[in-house]
């Protein structure tokens, strides 16, 4: 990669990346797929999201894609844990 890769994304580029990320993740939500790694391993499971996936990965730096994907899993786990503990305390 050229020196271009060391230049950080501008505000527009950031927002563009976030937008495409959100669209891809919304598609995964519809398929109740949490971990985007599953799509890497078994793309047939998320056929309708594959186009969004490649748009997202093109718009965002690789390190960001990895970070957002991991964060998605963590966020879902956290939400589930909070739900669980709420239920527990409700009892």
């Amino acid at each position: 990669m050229t020196a271009e890769s060391t230049k950080p994304p501008t505000r527009q580029e950031r927002q563009h990346c976030w937008k495409l990320r959100d669209e891809y993740f919304a598609c995964l939500d519809r398929l109740t797929i949490v971990d985007p790694v599953i799509v890497e391993k078994e793309p047939e499971k998320a056929k309708e999201c594959l186009e969004k996936k490649s748009k997202y990965e093109d718009a965002c730096m690789a390190s960001w894609v990895e970070y957002f994907n991991k964060r998605r899993v963590l966020d879902v786990k956290q939400r589930e844990y909070l739900e669980f503990s709420k239920q527990q305390s409700g009892k």
């Binding site: 050229t2 060391t6 950080p8 994304p9 730096m61 390190s63 970070y67 957002f68």
Partner: protein, 216 residues
């Protein structure tokens, strides 16, 4: 036996006692107030932050905090320009706080210090901070200098150990705003979950307290 003399004496004593108690009460309250102000200072603030000497991305010149920031309240954020979302969000938040403070005529200088001097050169930092607020000062330096400043602010920074030129990586770092007073002393820090309004109103309190204490 009731007579005018004893009545007058009685009333006189009563009034005297009342006046005495009132002045005593005032004296004690004043003492208490002063004491409470003292105890706030007596507990002391944690030794976070300190003077730093880095490179100003705006002009490539040396930036000595003891000269450039003396007499001003400032707020420091450590981040890196390749940050996916947290840094831009936090810096936008800081810009909001600065504008709110400006409206109240309580100037606050926003300072961004990169934790990623390897990639964040002066040009890159200059470009980056311009995007958030015209007053924002962007600082960089060599690895050692940056490490020293981060250490003094107890900022946890972690880059991947062996990185090659042009490689894409993320830097782990603690996410706080550090509020420093015109004497370069640490005042408070604000975490990611505080809103711009909360930070701004907390700042206002410290600002007023600082200048009120100056008057004394």
């Amino acid at each position: 036996v009731f007579n005018w003399k004893s009545a007058a004496l009685f009333l006189g004593t009563g009034a005297g006692l009342l006046l005495y108690f009132r002045s005593e009460k005032e004296r004690v309250e004043k003492l208490r107030e002063e004491k409470s102000k003292e105890t706030v200072k007596a507990y002391g603030k944690p030794k976070i932050g300190g003077p730093f000497n880095l490179i100003n991305a705006e002009n490539g010149q040396r930036f000595d905090s003891t000269k450039e920031l003396s007499g001003k309240f400032y707020m420091v954020y450590f981040g890196f320009t390749h940050c996916p979302d947290i840094c831009p969000e936090e810096l936008d938040k800081m810009a909001e706080v600065v504008d709110m403070a400006k409206e109240k005529k309580e100037p606050l200088v926003p300072v961004f210090i990169t934790c990623d001097p390897r990639r964040d050169s002066e040009e890159i930092v200059k470009e980056y901070v311009k995007d958030f607020h015209p007053d924002m000062i962007g600082l960089t330096g060599d690895q050692d200098e940056i490490r020293k400043v981060a250490k003094s602010f107890r900022v946890y920074v972690s880059s991947p150990p062996s990185v090659e030129e042009g490689e894409d990586y993320l830097v782990d770092h603690s996410i706080f705003f550090y509020l420093m007073d015109p004497d370069g002393k640490f005042v408070d820090c604000y975490a990611k979950d505080t809103t711009a309004e909360e930070v701004a109103s907390s700042y206002e309190k410290y600002y007023k307290e600082y200048y009120n204490n100056q008057k004394k």
